[in-house]
């Protein structure tokens, strides 16, 4: 247990509106400096996991009913969301969530609140512009008029301003063209390497996620069903078939009947 963990999630259960249980005993860990991927189909609970970690759940009437989340070895149960950001845990939310009525620059200014009370010098905006030169060109324009890719860049740029220790990235590839996805992920990998930011990455696009992550968890109905280093996951027969879209042994497409059979088998196993 000498491993240096930035984030440790232990057996958490999350319930929305006091009735709908979304996570059922989910555990995961993010080692310092690593990119960890969290994969799964729609409704598996990926975004919920991130919101549970960043404590944004109460905004959506969600609640952690069991288990605990530790950031840098400390239980975050009682910390307010903005205080958590100021400790260095930054959540880049799903759907980018830029402030549309603010200019690009003002969006970055808003993120400087993440440094309040931390006693660190302010991040120069040029750091963001060096990763995303396109934002510099549009810095005086309203964020609402940016393209989807630029908005994603701005969302990640805001995270850079906050000088986080851990970044939670919720589907950075959402709604972007394959070329842009590639561009954004190469920048994500660079940020990880150059800024030493650990990352927990939620993705639908397993191929790109595996390209940057060193470890992966696969979620199904609120639980981790498979996990392991990415080299092992990409060789895993089930993962290849259902998350990477690569046929098993032959190239022949399997029929849906067999898909069903597979699902049944896995549920029974887990």
């Amino acid at each position: 247990m000498a491993e240096d963990l930035v984030l440790e999630v232990n057996n958490i259960e999350v319930v929305y509106n006091r009735t709908i249980q979304v996570l059922r005993g989910l555990s995961l860990r993010v080692p310092r400096g690593a990119i960890v991927a969290l994969l799964g189909s729609n409704g598996a609970g990926k975004s919920t996991t991130l919101k549970a970690v960043s404590r944004l759940l109460p905004l959506e009437d969600g609640e952690i009913t069991a288990g605990q989340v530790a950031f840098e070895g400390e239980d975050i149960g009682q910390i307010t969301p903005h205080a958590l950001v100021r400790r260095g845990l930054f959540h880049v939310m799903e759907g980018r969530r830029v402030f549309e009525d603010l200019t690009v620059e003002e969006n970055l200014t808003a993120a400087t609140f993440a440094l309040s009370g931390r006693g660190v010098p302010p991040t120069p905006f040029d750091l963001v512009y060096s990763y995303f030169p396109r934002l510099y060109e549009r810095r005086k324009g309203l964020a609402g008029y940016l393209s989807g890719g630029e908005q994603q860049m701005l969302a990640i740029g805001r995270a850079l301003i906050a000088q986080p220790k851990l970044m939670l990235l919720d589907e950075p590839s959402l709604g972007l063209s394959p070329k842009l996805v590639e561009e954004i992920f190469s920048i994500i990998a660079r940020i990880n390497a150059e800024q030493g930011v650990s990352m927990l990455l939620v993705e639908q696009n397993a191929a790109v996620a595996f390209a940057v992550a060193s470890y992966g968890y696969i979620l199904e109905t609120g639980k981790v069903v498979i996990d392991g280093p990415t080299e092992r996951l990409v060789r895993d027969q089930d993962v290849r078939e259902f998350y990477l879209g690569l046929g098993g042994s032959g190239a022949a497409r399997k029929s849906y009947r067999e898909v069903k059979h597979y699902k049944r088998r896995k549920r029974w196993l887990s």
Binding site: H82, F99, A110, F113, G144, Y145
Partner: protein, 293 residues
Amino acid sequence: MTDWLFLAEVCLAGIGAGALYALTGVAFVLIYKATRVVNLAIGEILMLGGYAFLGFAAGWGLPAWAALPLAVLCGGLFGAVVERTLIRPMLGESPISVFMVTVGLGSMLVGAVELGWGADPLRLPEFVPNRPVFIGEAYLAPKVAYGFVAASLVIAAFVLAFRFSRSGVALRATAGDQGAAYSVGIDVPRVFSLAWTAACATAAGAGVLVGSIGGISPTMGVFGLSVLVVVIVGGLDSIMGALVGGLLVGLIEALAGAFLGGEYKLLATFGLLILILMLRPYGLFGTHEIERL
């Protein structure tokens, strides 16, 4: 051409009164923008400001230059307390419930003021220079003129702070997307508290100005009704709208009062409201979402 002169004087008086509407409208918009609360008690908070000034100036015998900031401070403090004790616990409840809380708050304030000062209208001690003001040849009551200047300065300060200060960015960010505001480290509850404090302080200040012109009474909260028209006409979440709406309503009330008779003032105001709502349901400057092409 005395008729033209009369018209000019009426218009000037209307614009002067309109500036006070605009100022109170800005207070209303500030709260709505940050917290999405429709604060119907704004008129009563304005009244409270007037009475606080009276208390400091007449009761304690303080000079006006000390009583005015104290009244404004009182308003701000009151706003902070209301936000913390009444509004924040209602967070996440239906907007109607919160709205009703502010209605109740307004009634309580009227009652409290009647208990303290009685129901009769009172005059505020004179503190504005009495020398008549002429713009060209048109006469303007000095109180209205100074009220206009004060209101314009405060509004200008608000607009600048809103556009260029870091707190302004936090407030606009919170107004735009609360969840995202949390996610970038903005202390959202503090923004709420700040908005209520600033807005109630502004309303209290406006109360002193309004009271210095027309006197104060527990029923002066109906001023808030016209302010409601102002912000609906201008768009609930637009400072610019409050500005334009305030001047427009002030002007129309003055014109209706002068040419149709005082009893038609409210009729004209609400007629304008209906007209605007039919043409532009979100008000003149209300938010329409940015659509990306």
